[in-house]
Structures are given as structure tokens and as C-alpha cells.
């Protein structure tokens, strides 16, 4: 795979300008774009989503530096970046195949953390849950109770009880879970390795 190189300033400036005339607004849109690219690579099972998202933006910025955006008439910047990301992903797959390491053969580590780490994680989660309002705590716990088929029925009933649609319930649970994950990660960092 080609080296990432340093993000070209002129290209970066032109990329920001293409996102928005206001530099600050452009910066926020850049972060959203980067987050979308990280999601894309993550969903595709890429092992280094942040690195490849930056590489994608780097390549797009280099095209802008070369004035390519005028020649190619980019109407949808996000779609264009996703297209570049797909090409990059195919390059990644080809290189891995060349090294005779298909994604399935990459060493995958089972989540068999030491009991200390499991206990620490549970304790951090307990603390994070205690910090939630009771209604939110009840929602996130009940949302993840039950085995697969029972879970579907439980969520339907949970949405009915709360008088929200299934989609709204899903988004509420997603936001709560993301908050809890971040809290637990921070808590584990503060505990440090070895509990």
C-alpha cells in the first residue's frame, strides 16, 4: 500500500473550503466526515479504521491539491470519500492476500481477559449504571435482557410501556450504551493494568 505521507496543507485547505465557506463549520463537517469513514471501515471489518480513514482523507486532500476536484466535478463529497475508501479497502485486501494473510487468517484473540480485568470491567459498569437516572438504568438493563427471540419480544413490550416507537427506543438504548462504554473505558484507564 502506498505510504500515507503528510497531509498536504494546500489540499487540506481546499478540502475544508469544499465542505463549508466558514472555516469553523468546515472543521466540524470534517470531523463528521472522518467519523463516517471510521464507521465505514469498522463495519467492513477493517482492523485499523482510524488509520485508514485518515489515509482516505489524505488521498482526497492530495487530489484537491492537484486541482482534481474541479476536473472531476465532485458533487457529493461524502460519497466521493466513501468511494476512495472502498478503493483503499480493496488495496488493503489485495496486499493481505499477497502476504498470504487473508483477513480470516489474521490472529484473532478471543476475549478471554483475566478474571481481574473482568471484575474491574463489571465494577466500572456498576458505577456507570449507578450514575444514570433510574429510568435510563432500567431501560438499558431491560433492553439487553433475555436470549435472542425473547429479547425481540421484550423490546417490543418495553417500547409499548414507554409509549415510544421501536426506532426511538433503539436510539435511546444506543445513546445510553455509547455513554456507558465511554465511562467504562475511562474508568478502566484510571484503574490501570492489573486492576
Amino acid at each position: 500500500m502506498k505510504g500515507t505521507g503528510t497531509l498536504n496543507q494546500a489540499g487540506f485547505d481546499r478540502l475544508l473550503a469544499a465542505l463549508d465557506d466558514d472555516r469553523e463549520a468546515a472543521g466540524r463537517k470534517y470531523e463528521v466526515l472522518r467519523a463516517n469513514l471510521i464507521r465505514f471501515f469498522g463495519w467492513r471489518g477493517d482492523g485499523a479504521p482510524e488509520e485508514h480513514a485518515d489515509e482516505t482523507l489524505d488521498r482526497v486532500a492530495r487530489k484537491f491539491a492537484a486541482g482534481a476536484e474541479g476536473r472531476e466535478e465532485i458533487h457529493d463529497l461524502t460519497g466521493y470519500c466513501i468511494g476512495v475508501a472502498r478503493l483503499l479497502l480493496h488495496e488493503v485486501y489485495r496486499e493481505q492476500a499477497k502476504r498470504q494473510k487473508a483477513l480470516r487468517e489474521l490472529p484473532t484473540q478471543e476475549v478471554s481477559a483475566a478474571a481481574d480485568e473482568t471484575e474491574a470491567r463489571l465494577e466500572c459498569l456498576r458505577r456507570a449504571l449507578e450514575g444514570l437516572p433510574p429510568s435510563d438504568r432500567e431501560l438499558i438493563v431491560q433492553y439487553y435482557q433475555g436470549e435472542r427471540s425473547a429479547k425481540i419480544e421484550n423490546r417490543r413490550r418495553l417500547a409499548e410501556r414507554r409509549k415510544v416507537s421501536a426506532g426511538t427506543l433503539r436510539m435511546q438504548a444506543l445513546r445510553l450504551r455509547q455513554g456507558l462504554e465511554a465511562s467504562v473505558a475511562k474508568c478502566l484507564e484510571s484503574i490501570g493494568p492489573g486492576g
Binding site: 466513501i82 489474521l106 478471554s112 481477559a113 456498576r126 432500567e138 421484550n154 413490550r157 426506532g167 436510539m171
Partner: protein, 335 residues
């Protein structure tokens, strides 16, 4: 509802890498450029979380499991997220179920209509009769509460006595095994090998204030005597000098509930477990039930333990008739 389930199924296949390139591109274009892109992104993230939850519970099929491992366990971040999913699943199962939540199968619809018809008939009853019925109901409720309280107290005492008896037996068997010649088989009374995953005792020091351990809210089961529950994945032996998973128990030993996640192959026939403490076999059990056999499966084993290194061997038959042996190991430290 049906459309939502079809969407979820498609998203699930997308995340497991089962869609064609064209199908993946269509979904991604909708997520990043479509009018409901943000909502779809949230839906994809939610299904991703559900996949992690199912992996942590051992609910994925062997093929899904292999695809999941290839796509989600190939980064530190992915592994951390799956660790979180396991913690959340444990916490959710330890919490009491809401009165209207389903644990297994949904209740039949006709039970609701019986309640509705009962309420209708009460509405048309004369006032004096209503008062008499209400008084009887109150008296019966008082008797029921007293009986339930007394029964619970008696069950708790019986469970405590049973726990102490089993721990004493286990210690005696361990000592006897130490004196017995090599290769002698110890057989334990079958206990604790659940037909389905039982609620676990969380190893966390104290339960969260408003999220009580499941056992306290469930009058059907006696309190679990386990010091901790422990989920083990196959091949828990580590490479490169890393030690096995460790668990701390009080001095004098304790009891652990092992949740053994079976890998890939759905075991059939007579499934056996052997547990070794160091060189000594301390448990041998046959006829084990595998929970969720269609998705690889899960075996629950209650085991009295003391300080030492343990090896668990699960032996069963694969669908093609071949013998499958799965190994797990862990270490117990005395506090």
C-alpha cells in the same frame, strides 16, 4: 414490523460480510448520503451491538461466530467492545426481570382475555357482594404474604445448610482424591449442570443500588452458593508466557459456576466433562445438557475449588460422528 425485521436481517448480514459488494455499497450509500442516513447509521450501530451481545452469550451459529471473530476481534478496540458487551450481558441477566418481560417463551394470548373477562364481571356485581369479596381477598392476601415470607425463610435456611453440606463433601472428595491412586475416577452427584443458563452471581463486590442480583428477585430458585461465575472460552490457554485466567476465592476454598462456551461445532450425544486440579482428576460427569446446541452452545458446571491450576475437558461427538475435545484452563488464587 416485518419490514423492520427484514432490515435488521440485512444489516446483520452486512456486518457479518455476507452481502455482495453491490448490496454493501447500496446500504452504505443510504447510510452516508440518503435522507434517513443518520437513522440508518444508528440502526446499523444498534445491530452491531446486538451481534456483540449474542457473541458474548454464545448465541451465534458456528458460521456467524467465525465471521464475527474475523471482523470484530482483529483490533484492540473491537476486543474492548466485546468485553464491554460481555459485562453488560452479565449485568442485565443478574438484574430482576420486569413483571411483563419474557424470560423464555411469550405467554399465550388467551390468558389476557381471561383477565379481561374477570374484570368485566366484577364491574357488574352488587356493592355488598363486592365488599364481601374484597374483604375475603384482603384476608387471603395477608395469609399468602405470611406464607411466602415463611416459605422463603425456610428455603433460605435449607439452601444454606445444603451449601455447607456440599462444600464439606467437596473438600472431603478433594482430600480423598489426593490420597487415591492416579487415574481413579471420582464421581460427583449431578448438581448445578443447568438445562439452560442460570442466573449468575456477579463477581463484583456489591450489587448496584437499584439493580439487585437476579437470585433475590426470583423465588423459584435457592440462592446460588457460588463465589463467582466465570465465563470460559475455548483454548483459554494463552501463548507467549501469558498465564491462564485467574479467579480469587476466600481461604478454605469456594465454589465457582463455570459457563463454558463451546466453539464452532454443535456437540451431540453423551457430552462428558472432566476437571483436573493439577494432575488430579477432581470431577467427572457424563450426560451433560448443552444449552443452545444450535448455536455452538454453552455448558454450565458448578465446581468447588481451592487454590490451584485447573483444566476442564469437554468431550462430545460432532455432527459427522467424530470426537471433539475442547479444553479450558484457569487458575484459582486464595485471598
Amino acid at each position: 414490523m416485518k419490514e423492520a425485521l427484514q432490515d435488521e436481517e440485512q444489516i446483520r448480514r452486512y456486518l457479518l460480510g455476507e452481502l455482495s459488494e453491490a448490496e454493501m455499497a447500496r446500504l452504505e450509500d443510504a447510510a452516508f448520503a440518503g435522507p434517513d442516513g443518520e437513522e440508518l447509521q444508528g440502526h446499523i450501530a444498534s445491530v452491531e451491538n446486538d451481534l456483540m451481545d449474542e457473541y458474548a452469550r454464545g448465541e451465534l451459529s458456528p458460521d456467524e461466530r467465525a465471521r464475527f471473530k474475523a471482523r470484530f476481534l482483529n483490533s484492540e478496540r473491537g476486543r474492548a467492545r466485546v468485553g464491554f458487551a460481555a459485562a453488560l450481558a452479565t449485568t442485565a441477566e443478574d438484574a430482576p426481570y420486569s413483571a411483563v418481560n419474557v424470560i423464555g417463551d411469550a405467554p399465550p394470548a388467551r390468558s389476557r382475555s381471561k383477565l379481561v373477562s374477570l374484570l368485566s364481571s366484577i364491574r357488574t356485581t352488587p356493592p355488598a357482594l363486592k365488599f364481601a369479596l374484597a374483604s375475603c381477598a384482603l384476608a387471603l392476601a395477608a395469609v399468602a404474604v405470611w406464607y411466602a415470607t415463611d416459605a422463603s425463610r425456610r428455603r433460605t435456611e435449607a439452601a444454606r445448610a445444603e451449601t455447607e453440606r456440599r462444600l464439606a463433601e467437596a473438600r472431603a472428595r478433594t482430600e480423598e482424591a489426593a490420597r487415591a491412586p492416579q487415574g481413579a475416577q471420582d464421581r460427583q452427584e449431578p448438581h448445578g449442570a443447568s438445562q439452560s443458563p442460570s442466573p449468575q452471581v456477579s463477581p463484583s463486590p456489591a450489587p448496584p443500588r437499584n439493580v439487585q442480583p437476579y437470585q433475590e428477585g426470583n423465588a423459584r430458585r435457592s440462592p446460588a452458593p457460588a463465589v463467582a461465575s466465570f465465563t470460559l472460552l475455548p483454548g483459554s490457554l494463552r501463548d507467549e508466557g501469558e498465564g491462564p485466567q485467574t479467579l480469587s476465592v476466600p481461604k478454605g476454598g469456594g465454589s465457582v459456576r463455570l459457563r463454558l462456551v463451546l466453539d464452532e461445532v454443535a456437540l451431540r450425544g453423551d457430552v462428558r466433562a472432566e476437571v483436573f486440579a493439577g494432575e488430579r482428576k477432581v470431577l467427572s460427569r457424563t450426560g451433560l445438557r448443552v444449552a443452545r446446541p444450535h448455536s455452538g452452545g454453552l455448558i454450565i458446571l458448578d465446581l468447588p475449588v481451592s487454590a490451584g491450576t485447573y483444566l476442564v475437558k469437554i468431550v462430545g461427538r460432532a455432527p459427522d460422528g467424530g470426537t471433539v475435545t475442547t479444553l479450558y484452563n484457569f487458575k484459582v488464587l486464595s485471598k
